[in-house]
């Protein structure tokens, strides 16, 4: 008995459809806590199957929210860079935005690959073009925007500046998609809390991306005018971000159980933290008058807020998937596919 397949490879041929599956020697992970209720009794009876999750908990790790953050931020930066291109006084901002976009996209791609079970196969992402799959769309967007952003950054000045500008426009046009598709990616799952927020999540992600980009730009040296542009961009982004959060709460709140992970547990805390940090950052940047320190503080707070927001959604999703009642009540309640009879 080897490989836990009860097949001795010296005697049997391993060519079954699951034979290629790698399995570690022993499985130490205990997949569940022992059920302590009398079967058929207690609150679970008739309502759930021993409270086992009805869907699988997403297998993603920290690098997925990181990939969301970096990619979204990069998209927003690219967009801002493109819009700023027209104005000669903003060349510094343009160059910085382009570099920010380039680094962001590179990091985003790296984070995504890091989460893959088979990283060596990351190129398979570009094997097909599948409109039904936001992840496929996102991969293509990343793949397209990355080089463009890079080119735009490298050729921000010098003889090839024209080409750089064209690349900047390319990246800038993909930018908004990059910063919002992640919202579609999450909501296009069976995870109750994510699926419920399918209208508000993309908006939230886009606004938060704008805020993220602005926050990082608040940390770098800029001309006074550029500072004002970034500040306005940031304020709009943060206001929209906070509004988006409220929208998400309202959308997910339609079924009490579905919204719960944004109020309770790790997800809830991170969600609240995101709110506070973003609000604080907003206040600082909105306060009239100019202060180096305030800019930096606001930038740091905004960045922290944007990151906690993505971690909040990530953990809320996991919790939501673990809760069979969320799945059931969502489908019995507001979110019916069949017409209530």
């Amino acid at each position: 008995m080897t490989d836990r397949r009860n097949v001795d490879p010296t005697l049997g041929i391993l060519e079954g459809e699951g034979a290629a599956q790698r399995a570690a020697e022993a499985d130490e992970r205990v997949p569940f806590t022992v059920w302590a209720e009398t079967p058929g009794r207690g609150p679970a009876a008739g309502a759930t199957y021993y409270d086992r999750p009805a869907i699988k908990e997403p297998v993603w790790i920290w690098s997925v929210p990181a990939y969301f953050y970096a990619g979204g931020m990069a998209g927003a930066a690219a967009t801002l860079g493109m819009v700023a291109q027209g104005d000669q006084e903003l060349r510094g901002l343009v160059r910085r935005s382009r570099w920010l976009a380039t680094i962001g996209l590179a990091a985003s791609g790296a984070f995504l690959v890091h989460d893959l079970g088979r990283p060596e196969r990351f190129l398979n992402m570009l094997r097909v073009f599948r409109p039904t799959s936001p992840m496929s769309m996102g991969s293509w967007a990343l793949a397209a925007a990355g080089p463009l952003a890079g080119a735009s950054a490298v050729f921000s000045g010098g003889p090839l500046r024209a080409a750089g500008d064209m690349a900047g426009v390319g990246a800038g046009l993909i930018g908004p998609a990059l910063s919002s598709y992640t919202g579609v990616l999450l909501s296009n799952t069976s995870v109750p809390v994510w699926a419920a927020a399918r209208r508000s999540l993309p908006v939230l992600f886009a606004s938060s991306s704008a805020a993220s980009a602005a926050s990082l730009l608040e940390l770098v040296q800029l001309s006074r005018r550029e500072e004002r542009v970034v500040r306005r961009f940031g304020i709009l982004g943060k206001v929209a971000e906070l509004t988006g959060m409220v929208a998400v709460e309202r959308e997910t709140g339609r079924t009490e159980r579905v919204g719960r992970p944004l109020r309770e547990g790790l997800g809830g805390s991170l969600w609240r933290a995101a709110k506070v940090l973003t609000a604080a950052s907003l206040l600082l940047s909105a306060k009239p008058g100019r202060s180096r320190g305030r800019r930096t503080a606001s930038g740091l707070l905004g960045t922290a807020g944007a990151i906690s927001l993505r971690l909040a959604l990530f953990h809320a999703g996991k919790a939501s998937a673990r809760d069979p009642r969320a799945t059931f009540e969502q489908q019995r309640g507001g979110e019916r596919a069949t017409k209530p009879s």
């Binding site: 008995m1 009860n6 001795d8 059920w35 302590a36 209720e37 009398t38 079967p39 058929g40």
Partner: protein, 849 residues
């Protein structure tokens, strides 16, 4: 009616037919202490106290008789209901739970007084009793008297006169009236008090049975070891036989009593027995004190009437098969080469002897007794004092490792270095790696072909036995000793194949089938066997399995391509007959009882029996045939007798002989019970086998305060018996990873047990720990206002292999049924506590808590 069997879990493949029947409208009733996967599919589940079925079934007998629901015509013609019983017979009614003939010194019955009036009838398959007072039988031979010969009284009528038979069933001493009186006290109220089954539920079941029996309908009983593993195991099944005979459900399609056998060929291992007291084909093993010569043996075991009059043909043919040319009429066919029974050598007796150092060595082949048999500790005690032990198995099972992996070693009571037993382990080939037959529950022999060669040193049983035999013959070749003659004279010449000289299994089946000695021609069936030495046959009931030199057991013609009885799938003993006693499917005149239930019938124009199956009677014998007074042997079987192996051709409602614990089933409590026997002063089966020894302590027979709960043991679909075939397969152990007990929420509350937690179960014999499943599936029972809690315990686990756990059989004592010496593992008493075993703490599941 599935009772004493968990068919869905233990015979899942066969259970598809129950589902089919249910789909066609059959009502399925499951009587079981637990609500099992079978109950889940049944129309009705009736929870019963383990060990109380005779009271329940007796209640049904009483219901049938009191309300005249029996199939009168069938009962009068086909059973011994009208026969009048000896005046000396006394019933349990008269003797408060004992029958006449009880010898308290000897602790056994003298069955003489149970016989019919003025007649001594022989048990089918020879004498059971060991004692010298066993009765040489003369079948029915009485001085002709002048009474009216009865019409339609079969063999009996050749002998029994008016004064011995009462077809009106009114004679106070006729079997029917005795039966009626015996079961009169098995009232619904009594059933409720003994079994914990409510009157309504009981009456519901009884009526369901009656309504579905008679001319147009039949009901079947299905049982397995939930019925047999009791100190009254045989009588459980007897009670069902009485019901089925009264209702006319025997020998008819859709009727009968289906004994679901165990291991894939456990039926085969009783036909060609691994049992100490039988020769192949249920011929009795010669007894040292009684059967000193061939003539004595025949004289003691033959019945002059009925089919057992043929006994000599089968014995001679067997001896010819074994000793070939060496077996001659002059030397009594080498009868003296056969070992003689000096006494009881059943499993537990032998193990007790082993523990007392009376054995030198032992072969354990295809068995794991330290886990599967009662009282593992006593087994290991025996193994420890053997000189040598041979184990043939797939893995190093517990029995092979008793010397280094056992509770007493954990506890430091025994040290491996002090054990001198030499253990030989031989890897065994699995059924997929060798040719051979399985004989299943319906006596169907099915050939299986080797799919692959066994790995490494693994060899088949056939290979092992054949080559061992050859070595023994070689060893004794030059011996002059008389005692070595049997081995020297044994024919031992099977053709072999391949590099390992694997004997040809078909050659063995040929020999079992039997052949004409001169020509070597396979015989077509057992009727061709002779007692003059001209034929040889390894097992008379298997004669025909190699008919025409064709391996009949390898036939696999799909059911759709033949009649619904499907006679061309495999081969069933005897004579490829699919339903035994099927003569009873027709009325005394040979007409089917009803169109709906026609099976075999007498065809006047052809002048013989015909039908869908092989008729279980003499083909050309018309229903009208009536033996005259000097008829002999099979000529005494009349045209109406369906049970031709019985000396009187009748189904026995009352067993005048052949059983050691009474002619009629009587409710006795298990050896260890929570209550006093509510029916009689006699608590347990008086004739039960006990082993009174310090290393086999018993609890108080009733209501032992130390052990207040009933324990019953059983199987799970996911594992097989002692685990050698399942605990080493991780695809199975992941499905049932650990030993657990099943308890009701009420008992859990009483003892502080939590679902998924641990419990320790103790008896005087031992202590085990297991996980807990709290479930409504094992309800407490109310007996006379008292609550009886039952604990369910699978017995598959042991201490070796990937999935380890304590063995349930550490808890169970040596105590057995007297007729077949089967252990009482289905009902005993114990105590249960929350938490893990006190000593030798250990993680049980695959090294994990």
């Amino acid at each position: 009616m599935i009772e004493g069997s968990n068919m869905a879990e233990c015979h899942p493949v066969g259970f598809q037919w129950v589902m089919e029947a249910k789909h066609r409208g059959a009502t399925v009733i499951h009587v079981d202490p637990r609500f099992t996967r079978t109950s889940a599919m049944a129309d009705l589940h009736v929870p019963i106290r383990a060990g109380s079925d005779i009271a329940f079934l007796g209640g049904i007998v009483n219901h049938i008789i009191q309300n005249e629901r029996y199939f009168r015509e069938y009962v009068v013609a086909y059973t011994n209901a009208p026969f009048i019983v000896s005046d000396d017979f006394r019933d349990t009614e008269d003797l408060d739970g004992l029958f006449s003939g009880w010898d308290s010194e000897e602790g056994r019955y003298d069955p003489t007084s149970w016989q019919y009036k003025d007649v001594e009838v022989a048990p089918a398959a020879g004498q059971r009793e060991m004692g010298p007072e066993a009765h040489p039988n003369r079948g029915y031979r009485l001085t002709p008297s002048t009474g009216q010969a009865q019409v339609r009284q079969g063999a009996a009528s050749a002998d029994l006169r008016a004064e011995h038979v009462d077809e009106t069933l009114r004679h106070p001493r006729c079997v029917f009236q005795i039966l009626k009186r015996h079961y009169a006290r098995y009232t619904p109220e009594m059933v409720e008090e003994v079994c914990g089954i409510s009157r309504q539920q009981f009456l519901g079941v009884a009526e369901a049975l009656c309504e579905n029996s008679g001319r147009d309908r039949t009901s079947a009983f299905v049982y397995s070891v939930g019925w047999t593993q009791h100190t009254v195991g045989v009588q459980y099944i007897r009670t069902a036989s009485i019901i089925q005979l009264l209702l006319g459900n025997m020998g008819r399609p859709g009727g009968g009593i289906l004994a679901l056998r165990g291991h894939a060929s456990i039926q085969g291992s009783t036909d060609i027995p691994t049992l100490y007291d039988l020769l192949p084909g249920y011929l009795p093993m010669p007894k040292a004190r009684l059967d000193r010569s061939f003539d004595e043996y025949v004289h003691n075991n033959i019945s002059t009437t009925g089919w057992w009059s043929q006994l000599p043909k089968y014995v001679v043919s067997l001896l010819r098969a074994w000793f070939g040319a060496k077996a001659t009429a002059e030397n009594d066919w080498c009868f003296d080469h056969l070992p003689r029974l000096s006494g009881d050598h059943s499993h537990m007796t032998t193990v007790a002897d082993m523990a007392d150092g009376k054995l030198v060595g032992a072969f354990v082949m295809g068995e794991n007794p330290t886990v599967g048999s009662m009282h593992g500790a006593l087994h290991r005690k025996g193994f420890r004092v053997l000189e040598w032990l041979v184990v043939r198995d797939f893995h190093l099972i517990e029995t092979a490792e008793f010397w280094r992996n056992a509770p007493e070693i954990d506890r430091g009571e025994v040290r491996p270095e002090d054990i001198e037993t030499e253990v030989f382990f031989f890897p065994a080939a699995a059924h997929t790696e060798k040719d051979g037959t399985f004989t299943n529950t319906q006596r169907l022999l099915q050939w299986h072909h080797a799919a692959v060669d066994p790995p490494g040193d693994a060899r088949s049983e056939l290979w092992f036995m054949y080559h061992l035999g050859k070595r023994l013959k070689e060893r004794y070749r030059s011996s002059r000793k008389r005692r070595d003659r049997p081995i020297k004279d044994l024919t031992w010449d099977y053709p072999t194949r391949g590099p390992h000289e694997e004997p040809d299994a078909e050659a063995v089946l040929r020999e079992i089938n039997g052949y004409v000695v001169d020509t070597g021609e396979p015989v077509p069936g057992f009727t061709a066997l002779r007692d003059d030495g001209s034929t040889a046959a390894g097992c008379w009931i298997y004669a025909g399995s190699f008919k025409d030199g064709v391996n009949q057991t390898a036939r696999r013609r799909p059911g759709v391509d033949q009649n619904w009885v499907a006679p061309e799938w495999g081969w069933a003993w005897p004579a490829n007959r699919r339903i035994l006693y099927n003569r009873a499917s027709a009325d005394p005149d040979g007409r089917p009882w009803s169109e709906r239930k026609r099976y075999v019938w007498w065809d006047e124009t052809l002048g013989r029996w015909t039908g869908f199956d092989d008729p279980d009677t003499i083909r050309e014998r018309p229903p009208s045939y009536h033996p005259d007074d000097d008829a002999e042997g099979t000529d005494t079987i009349s045209g109406i007798d369906p049970f031709i192996l019985q000396a009187d051709g009748k189904g026995w409602l009352y067993a005048p002989t052949g059983l050691l614990d009474g002619p009629m089933p009587t409710h006795y409590e298990p050896r260890e019970s929570p209550i006093d026997n509510p029916l009689y002063g006699q608590q347990c089966n008086p004739a039960r086998m006990e082993w009174k020894r310090r290393d086999n302590p018993y609890h108080r027979s009733s209501d032992d305060p130390r052990f207040p709960y009933v324990v019953t043991t059983y199987r799970l679909t996911e594992h097989h018996t002692a685990g050698g075939m399942s605990r080493w397969v991780s695809w199975l152990t992941e499905l049932q990873p650990e030993l657990f007990c099943e308890v009701s929420p009420a008992l859990a509350a009483e003892r502080g047990l939590r679902n998924g937690g641990w419990a320790t179960i103790t008896t005087a014999r031992g202590e085990i720990e297991c996980r807990v499943l709290v479930t409504e599936r094992i309800p407490p029972l109310r007996l006379k206002g008292r609550t009886i809690h039952q604990i369910g315990l699978p017995y598959h686990w042991g201490r070796s292999g990937p999935s380890r756990g304590d063995a349930a059989n550490e808890l169970i004592s040596f105590v057995a049924d007297p007729n077949v010496s089967i252990q009482e593992s289905k009902a005993l008493t114990a105590n249960i506590e929350a938490g893990r075993r006190s000593r030798g703490r250990r993680v049980v599941s695959g090294g994990r808590e």
